[in-house]
Symmetry: C2
Subunit: 101 residues, 2 copies
DNA sequence: CGTGTAAGGAATTCTGACACG
DNA sequence: CGTGTAAGGAATTCTGACACG
């Protein structure tokens, strides 16, 4: 589920080139809990390709007037749905193999 | 044949973290024609994940005492072999479908 | 040949804040 | 709420060069 796309190696300047977003916006979306870059030893932010894609999604929604708070809700709902699906699959798997302890 | 792994988005400081090589070495290997980072508008070097892997290979060879010149030869030979294989495949493909013009 | 280092300048990134709204 | 901007400092990156070997 994780890969090279999740390695945090891109500095904010490059993210700026890749997304067209201002540093201000990128940092603000972090402040609002939408993106979670890692930091180098001295505090420089590092983003992954996945983060860049996420930022592009955020930019789209913002253009449609969606507030950061709502965007965050969307993400959390999406995650819940995925977790739910995973749970269902696990259940079926266990039922099939009689693994219920 | 190209992908996310070939996108030049990693600055030299991060490459340093990823490879353990000094900036000096990394720049020198470029000078010797072993790696080819791109540049941002103002000249900052940008590397890809593939470049990082390549640098790791170079580091291994250097530890074995292989000179940069020889390493370059190796790479060029490897490339020739790959090109040769591609050529053969293309030939077979064309022969099979009678595509020779 | 391969790599370290000091040098000086230019560009980057960071944080906290004021501004507008 | 979301984003721009000026502010000041700290860290990054770049090039050309001297050094050793």
């Amino acid at each position: 589920m994780s890969s090279i796309k999740d390695k945090k190696v891109i500095t904010i300047g490059i993210v700026t080139e890749l997304t067209g977003l201002s540093e201000r916006k990128i940092r603000y979306y972090e402040e609002r809990g939408l993106v979670f870059p890692e930091r180098t030893e001295r505090g420089t932010r590092k983003y992954s390709f996945s983060d860049v894609e996420l930022l592009l999604e955020i930019a789209d929604k913002r253009e449609d007037g969606v507030q950061t708070y709502e965007i965050k809700q969307d993400f959390s709902n999406k995650k819940k749905k995925e977790d739910y699906r995973d749970e269902m699959l696990r259940g079926q798997f266990n039922a099939h193999f009689n693994l219920r302890k």
